[in-house]
């Protein structure tokens, strides 16, 4: 027996058990990385919800007297070549990317979990075939597949982008879930369930799933970061974007040429927004990875 860590806790009363659960949660709450990430993310979520009320101007409001002016009292983030207020556009673009990222990741996670459960538990030929397909899809860069799909679908809508990204994420999430399920299904409590005539559905959802939830949750947060990454890049490249929407990526795409003329603000602020949103999500997933020791 390994004696370098305290052995299993002996008999405990109800009260003491509650203390153990609180300890886990407090570990999360005390983790500096988590707190910083959660703070920044909360800020962005608030902006996403209340952006319409906070932004001083509309997304398409143009003021031709103030074209490409640098940050000043009237326009905190300056204006771009169309006379539009950068600050407002950044704020208003929040909801779009936040909602898209969450939805796409959620879609991918649900599909990936289903895939992982099925292949991890049933194995056999079904598993082999699916894994071959997954490998094939993994051999195509995520970005390229997304571009291809959006181009093929004449993508101009964010919904499409969300669906495409969700599907593209499914194989990788499926792989992670599959690995976890493979491990769990070897454990004897699954055999014990069969030995009391439990049906497959019960075993998958009531026995195995609760035990693979922690890695799934962590995977969700990791993928969320990549979703933000992908959505920003896709909108920068012009795919899946509605004309004129205050999309951070397309804001940069429209304005980045001007950095050579030292007009950095219409590019820098959306860029910083993307960076901080992505990093905040990443900090959260990092801290969770640490706590769950994955």
């Amino acid at each position: 027996m390994n004696e370098t860590t305290p052995s299993t806790i002996a008999q405990k009363s109800n009260l003491e058990r509650k203390i153990i659960r609180r300890e886990r949660l407090s570990l999360i709450a005390k983790n500096k990385t988590f707190l910083v990430g959660a703070a920044i993310l909360s800020f962005w979520i608030i902006l996403a919800i209340f952006g319409n009320f906070i932004a001083p101007r509309g997304a398409s409001d143009q003021d031709f007297e103030y074209v490409s002016v640098s940050p000043q009292w009237k326009f905190w983030f300056g204006t771009d070549a169309n006379g539009q207020d950068v600050l407002s556009r950044v704020i208003l673009g929040t909801r779009l990317i936040v909602v898209m990222a969450f939805t796409a990741t959620a879609l991918g996670t649900i599909l990936g979990t289903a895939l992982g459960l099925a292949t991890g538990y049933f194995k056999g030929k079904f598993d082999m075939v699916i894994m071959r397909l997954v490998e094939a899809v993994s051999a195509i860069p995520v970005l390229i597949i997304a571009l291809l799909a959006i181009a093929a679908l004449e993508g101009r809508s964010p919904t499409l982008t969300v669906i495409v990204i969700g599907f593209v994420f499914t194989p990788n999430i499926g792989r992670t879930v599959r690995a976890a399920v493979l491990g769990e299904s070897e454990l004897e409590y699954v055999a014990a369930a069969r030995l009391r005539t439990e049906r497959t559905r019960h075993i998958l959802f009531r026995e195995i799933l609760p035990n693979v939830l922690p890695p799934i949750i962590v995977e969700f947060t990791v993928r969320l970061g990549y979703a933000i990454f992908a959505i920003a890049t896709l909108s920068f490249l012009g795919a899946g974007v509605e004309y004129g929407s205050p999309n951070w990526g397309s804001q940069i795409a429209e304005n980045w040429g001007n950095i050579y003329s030292n007009i950095w603000w219409p590019t820098a602020f959306p860029a910083l927004a993307i960076a901080s949103l992505a990093v905040s999500v990443n900090l959260i997933s990092d801290s969770l990875l640490e706590i769950f020791e994955l």
């Binding site: 490998e135 195509i140 181009a151 890049t233 490249l237 795919a239 950095i259 992505a278 990443n282």
Partner: protein, 318 residues
């Protein structure tokens, strides 16, 4: 051993074939008439028929697939829809350029990331470790184009250290100068790919450091440094090979945005142009080529892994 390689090769071929099928159907099966999409609203019926004939779109899906694959195997990538010239003329030079960029990037990324992972693992828990781990992964979620633009702003415009275009002008295209121009773009890619590779390397080193055989080495009387060099590194670096191969897709994907920002006539730029113009021939060919590259790297990584891991090597030679 030969049989193993052939087996893996066979699997790779299957994978590439599946990719072809997926890509093909993605562009054909999804709603929308290719010809109409391409030629736009103003197209006449004759134009549409002509277009379809030229690009074989009037045949059944399966025969299209097989004709296309047949051509591919002969090296014929078809005709570009926008330029009406061979796709290969468009893609091949671009691939050459991108290879240079990817090459430079690869030779910067691999040593840096591995070194980062090792340093983090050896200083577990200290500030250096947290900086590399958390910093690395945070940098990885920031899109390449954002990094590219920040780097251009900082080192190209504000402090003019590096050139802002990746493509040197006429007359200054010595090898050294080309590489110099590729430094900033490579760093954009490095920042995104560093984090994950360093993290996996770190995990591998830590696992080796915590292992029983490391304990044996120390208890034998080896100094810690000798023990690490002799026992830890060769075990720890095995998973690193696998993870580097897994990052090649992201490297290729990242090329697109980086090449655009740095004005580089590479594969990514061509692909972006093809997306904008709905040039399916170019798109298909492009995706297949990138998949070929990725699958080849995975094959090499698998073989390398098997060679270096005695357990697998022995199993194969039985």
């Amino acid at each position: 051993m030969k049989r193993f390689i052939l087996q893996r090769l066979g699997l790779s071929v299957i994978t590439v074939f599946l990719v072809c099928v997926i890509v093909f159907f993605l562009t054909r099966i999804l709603p929308g008439d290719v010809a109409r999409q391409y030629l736009g609203r103003g197209a006449t019926e004759e134009d549409l028929i002509e277009f379809r004939r030229v690009f074989g779109l009037d045949q059944s899906l399966f025969s299209q697939l097989f004709t296309w694959i047949g051509h591919l195997l002969q090296g014929d990538m078809g005709e570009s829809m926008q330029y009406r010239g061979p796709v290969s003329d468009l893609l091949l030079p671009a691939i050459g350029y991108s290879s240079k960029l990817a090459g430079v990037a690869f030779f910067i990324i691999v040593p840096f990331s591995i070194a980062g992972g090792v340093v983090a693992a050896m200083n577990r828990g200290k500030r250096v470790d947290r900086f590399i781990t958390v910093g690395g992964l945070s940098a990885a979620v920031i899109p390449e184009f954002v990094w590219a633009i920040i780097l251009v702003l900082l080192f190209g415009v504000t402090f003019q250290v590096f050139p802002v275009s990746a493509f040197p002008e006429e007359g200054a295209r010595s090898l050294l100068n080309q590489i110099w121009h590729l430094v900033l773009p490579s760093i954009s890619l490095l920042l995104v790919l560093f984090g994950y590779v360093a993290r996996i390397t770190r995990a591998g080193v830590i696992e080796a450091l915590d292992s029983d055989y490391m304990r044996t080495a120390v208890l034998k009387g080896l100094t810690r440094r000798k023990a690490v060099v002799k026992h830890v590194l060769r075990n720890a670096l095995l998973p690193t090979i696998a993870v580097i191969a897994s990052q090649i897709p992201y490297l290729i994907g990242g090329l697109i945005a980086v090449e655009i920002v740095f004005n580089y006539p590479g594969f990514g730029t061509i692909l972006k142009g093809a997306v904008d113009a709905r040039d399916y021939s170019v798109l298909q060919a492009g995706v297949i080529i990138s998949s070929l590259v990725i699958v080849s790297f995975q094959l090499i990584a698998d073989i390398l892994f098997a060679l270096l891991n005695p357990r697998i090597r022995q199993k194969i030679s039985e």
